[in-house]
Symmetry: D2
Subunit: 145 residues, 4 copies
C-alpha cells in the first residue's frame, strides 16, 4: 500500500482535520506523520493528566502508545477494516511531566490476515521515556465475521 492509497481517514487526520475519535480529541492527540506502516502522534501533557505524585499518569502514556500503534496499523489496512487491541504492554523509563509534549512513533512489525503486532517508542525532547508493544485482532473488510 502506498501513501496515496492510505485510508481517507488517515489522510484527513494528516491534513489537520479533527479526529473522528472522541478519545483523540479529549486527549489532544494529533497525527503529525504517516507512512505505510509508521505514524508519528503527539500529545501535550496537561494538568488533567497529573497523578497524585504530580507527574503524568501512566494510563495516558499507554493511551497515546495504543493510538500511535493503531493508526500505524490503519496505514497498511484497507478502508473498512476494524482492528482491536488485544494486548498492550508498556515499559516506562522516565517520568513525564505536565507541560511536556509526548511524541509517539508507532510501527507495524507484522500484519497478518487476522492478527497484527505493533510497537511504539515515546520520546520527550528527544529522550526515550517509554516503549510499548501491542497485539491486534484484525477484521479485514472482506471477512464476514
Amino acid at each position: 500500500m502506498t501513501k496515496s492509497e492510505m485510508q481517507p481517514r488517515i489522510q484527513r487526520l494528516l491534513e489537520g482535520e479533527e479526529s473522528t475519535s472522541a478519545a483523540w480529541r479529549w486527549l489532544g492527540i494529533k497525527l503529525l506523520e504517516a507512512a505505510p506502516g509508521r505514524t508519528l502522534c503527539v500529545m501535550p501533557v496537561t494538568e488533567e493528566m497529573r497523578n497524585h505524585q504530580g507527574v503524568c499518569h501512566g494510563g495516558f502514556i499507554t493511551a497515546l502508545a495504543d493510538s500511535a500503534m493503531g493508526s500505524a496499523l490503519a496505514t497498511v489496512l484497507p478502508e473498512g477494516e476494524r482492528h482491536m487491541s488485544f494486548d498492550l504492554k508498556l515499559s516506562l523509563m522516565r517520568t513525564v511531566r505536565v507541560g511536556e509534549t509526548l511524541r509517539a512513533e508507532g510501527t507495524v512489525l507484522h500484519a497478518g490476515r487476522r492478527t497484527a503486532v505493533g510497537e511504539c517508542r515515546l520520546h520527550v525532547d528527544g529522550k526515550l521515556v517509554a516503549t510499548a508493544s501491542g497485539s491486534f485482532v484484525v477484521h479485514r473488510p472482506e471477512q464476514t465475521d
Copy 2:
C-alpha cells in the same frame, strides 16, 4: 498493615473525598473498597472515551487498571512512599461500551523493598473484560534516593 493503619490518603478516598490526583478526577475514577493488598475502583465509560470504532479506547482501560494496582499498592506501603509504574500489561478480552461502568479489582502479588508486582481484573456487569499486570518501582520513606 491493618486496615486502620492504611495511609490517610486511602482512608479519605474511601470516605468519598475527592482524589488528590487530577487524573482520577478527570477520568471519574472512584475508590469503592480497600483492604490490605486489594482495592476496588470504578470508572464510568463516557462519550469522551469513545475511539473511532465507537467503543472505549484501550488507554482508558489501562489507566483504570494502573490506578487500581497503584492504590492497592498504597494499602500496603507506609505514608510518604512513592511508587511508579515500571511496566504495564493489559489483555483485552471484550470491548467496553460507552455508558458501561468498569470495575477494577487491583491486587498486590509481591511488595519487596524496591519493587512490587500487582495484577488487576476488570469487569463490566460481572463479565471479565480485561486483565492487567504491572511492575512498580517503590521508594519507601526511609530510603534516601
Copy 3:
C-alpha cells in the same frame, strides 16, 4: 466441555503417558491435574537450567508457564484444534533454585473463536514465584485456514 470429553491427548498425559511434545520431555514437564479450563503442571529445576548467576534461567520458567497455559487451553478445545502462543508475559518475583520443583497452574480466562487468553501462577513450596499471561491464536478443527 466436561472432563470426560477432554482431548485424548490430555487424558493420556494425566494417566502418566509420555508427552508427544519433545520439549515437555526434555524439560521434564508433567501434567498432574486437568479440569475444564485449568491444569497443573510441574517441572523439576535441574542443573542444566542454571544461569551464570547460579539460579534458574527465566526462559525455563516461561516455558513451563506457556506449557501450563497451552494445556489449560487444550482442555476446553476440541480434538484437532491448534493453538499458538501469540504473546507471553512473565513477572518474576523470586529467584528459583536448582533442585526446587516448580508448580504451574494454568487457567483459561477467555476462549473465543479465534483468540484465547490464559494466565498462570507459579509456585515453589507454596510460595508464589512468578505469574504469567498469554494470548493465543486458535484454529478450531472446523476452520479451514
Copy 4:
C-alpha cells in the same frame, strides 16, 4: 563503557569460550557479537525443542530473548554486577521450525541505577519471527544489598 572495558565474562564468550551458564550450554546459545548496549546471540532449534504441534516451543524463544537482553545489559554494567529479569514479554509473529537457527539481537534501552529495560528482535533467515522486551533489577557492585 567502551568495548575494551566490557566484563571479562563477555570478552571470553566472544572469543568462543564455553559459557559459565549451564542453561546457555544446554540450549546451545552462542554470543556472536557484543558492543556497548547490544549483543547478537544465536541458538539452533533442535529436535528437543519441538512442541506437540511440531514447531519450536515458545519457551525456548523466550529463553534466547532473555539471554540476549541479559548479555546486552552485561555489556554496559561493571564486573561484579548482578541483574535479574523482572518481567519478560514476548510477541511471536511466525512459527519457528526445527533445524532453523534463531538470531536474537538484544539492546539496552535504559540502564538506571536499580532498574534496566531491554528489548530484543529475533530473526530466522532475515525474517522477523518475534520481539521481546524485558525489565531487569540491577545490583551494581557498590550496592550493599
